[in-house]
Amino acid sequence: VVVSGGGMVGSAMAAVLGHDIHFHDKKIALLEAGPRKEYDRMPDNFSNRVSSISPGSATLLSRFGAWDHVCSLRLKPFRRMQVWDACSEAMIVFEKDDLDDMGYIVENDVIMSALTKQLDAVADRVEVFYGSRAVGYTWPLPSHSCDTSPWVQIELADGHRLQTKLLIGADGHNSVVRKEAEIKNIEHQYDQSAVVATLHLSEATDNNVAWQRFLPTGPIALLPLSDTVSSLVWSTSHEHALELLTMDEESFVDSINSAFWSNANHSDFIDTAGAMFRSAISLLKPSGSAVRQLPPSIARVDPESRAMFPLGMGHATEYVQHRVALIGDAAHRVHPLAGQGVNLGFGDISCLAHHLSAAAFNGSDLGSLKHLLKFETERQRHNVSLITAIDMLKRLYSTKLAPLVLLRTWGLQATNALPPVKVRI
């Protein structure tokens, strides 16, 4: 098996297979263009690329011992998520009844380091090719009565040739594997870029809440990293993103605070309508609204920590082909507003590994479409609704138009009051 792409998803896939007992005598290769990333201690400064890890993903990572490494480096669990609108008072709060951790904010580098350690642990089965790049793929012909090899041939830039029964493409939203396999991709560039930065709070706090406010230009989110530090993910127009990046640090901090605190976008009409709806709900369901907390205010930003990257949405029409499977962003790319991107990828890994493990224990040819299609069906069924929902949310919240604001205000308030719906989310 060859996994192309050594990011969080690709590395985790290789590690899961490497630790699978039914893969005991199989060889796995991981191709990664970048260098090896491993840390014994994290640097004092936090990295500006972080991910929200769901409990399900944490379970996957602990299956092969990577989660322990993450815990010993650093991570921040959060218990509560408050999401609200800039154009109204509507708000929705997510928290688990038993005050369990809802999720974890972890720096991407920490995850990579943990994965690298676990890949080392199975180095006899998994070979990682750092600094490698595939320059050519030869696909097998479907008919089995010919003389050429029925496996996938991969030619690397340094002249190495690999052949494999199954090529797993985990090489991101511009996946080369997907392009070379001629799998069509539905994609759409958003008019937005995300600005990330590492921020220091005005005062130390428990900081176990994740905050997200939907501004007309895009959602701004504050993700806790420690008692005094949080990570910023601000999705906004390209022009505004550029402004944010180039303005001086004080103005940057002011923009953030104002984005979270200002009520400039409220209109009396919406406020009144919202208040009416809220009273109506509290008649029907007295416990229907949770306490509104106030987000922390920002004191300063880490110099050099500001960066931006463009956002888009993508979904491959097929996740699998004979001897090829796509996982992670190569198969689906979403807006960061729901914090789901990497979790979808980890979900793909869980499902694909399950099917491959069963196939290996049955002595099947790993590249056979029969079990690959089962993976595709399961994941597409799960992913499509979530990807569509995230896209719809993004569009719904990108407007100031009163009717739509009212709709989403009432919608958010109603959802906040309905436990069954919230649990599903």
Partner: protein, 284 residues
């Protein structure tokens, strides 16, 4: 080559030359998973676990990453190697034999692309009787899947199996029952209507009811451990286990150890009543 094989079949072999002609035409179609042999490909989903689990249940130490390591298997009537390859992937050393040279050629070519399989599998174009002399009590397991319904002399076949099998070795058979239902579904529907089996492949007369197979096995030194009915779903293209053996079935028998004699009829009836209450078997 056909003439040479005909000579063998008249005297010392259980191979039926008419049967071989049928398979000659399809020799190169074996490995097309969606083609003529698609039902056999999907049968691996139940017959490989059946064999694997039965052997794991009987063994004391094994490694889940290489469950059949060290096991020597003879795949009789291996065809293009559809069953030999998965068994070899699980660690077994497999010898696959088939009287048709074209089948062996296809099988050899297909395994040659995989260095692991190439080492673990040996194919030979011959009949079972031809290897008896040089392979007395050599194999731990014999697999005769979808074969006994094509064989000319079933008792001779079973006897030869017994000779090349080590004491307490296992014999796995999958085949088709001889019932009205198997005629309707196995021949009329499968061959003539839906066409999932190439027409003319099977002759109802040669189908073997499980009771008869059991009788022959028990009187040739085997003890039947498991009998399970199998069902093919043509819409999903997949196989599953079922209680009734009226269409397809799988059987696992074990050759008695060196000390025991082949069982007299007294013990036979005792085992038969045991069997009827335990048809659930080990397969999952």
């Amino acid at each position: 080559t056909m003439k040479r094989l005909v000579n063998f079949s008249t005297s010392h072999s259980s191979v039926d030359s008419k049967e071989m002609k049928k398979f000659q035409l399809l020799a190169h179609k074996w490995w097309d998973e969606e083609g003529e042999y698609s039902a056999l490909h999907s049968m691996n989903d139940i017959r490989v676990p059946f064999i694997r689990d039965a052997l794991l249940n009987m063994s004391r130490n094994y490694h889940l990453g290489n469950p059949l390591s060290g096991v020597k298997i003879l795949d009789v009537g291996c065809g293009g190697g559809l069953l030999s390859e998965p068994l070899a992937r699980l660690g077994a050393s497999v010898t696959g034999i088939d009287p048709l040279e074209d089948n062996i050629r296809t099988a050899d070519q297909h395994k040659s692309f995989d260095p692991v399989l190439d080492k673990r599998i040996q194919y030979k174009s011959c009949s079972l009787e031809e290897i008896v002399e040089e392979s007395m009590e050599t194999f731990d397991v014999i697999v005769a899947s979808e074969v006994v319904e094509h064989v000319a002399d079933l008792e001779m076949f079973i006897n030869s199996c017994s000779q090349v099998l080590k004491p307490e070795g296992s014999l796995f058979v999958t085949t088709i029952n001889k019932t009205q239902l198997s005629y309707v579904l196995g021949i009329v529907v499968a061959e003539k209507i839906i066409g999932i089996v190439p027409e003319g492949t099977h002759e109802w007369e040669k189908f073997v009811p499980p009771e008869e197979l059991e009788r022959l096995l028990e009187s040739n030194g085997f003890s039947v451990k498991t009998v399970n009915g199998m069902l093919y779903n043509p819409f999903s293209g997949s196989w599953s286990w079922m209680e009734s053996t009226s269409i397809n079935y799988a059987m696992h028998a074990v050759k008695s150890g060196a000390q025991e004699q082949s069982s007299p009829t007294g013990a036979l009836s005792e085992m038969e009543s045991e069997k009827h209450s335990a048809t659930a078997g080990t397969a999952v």
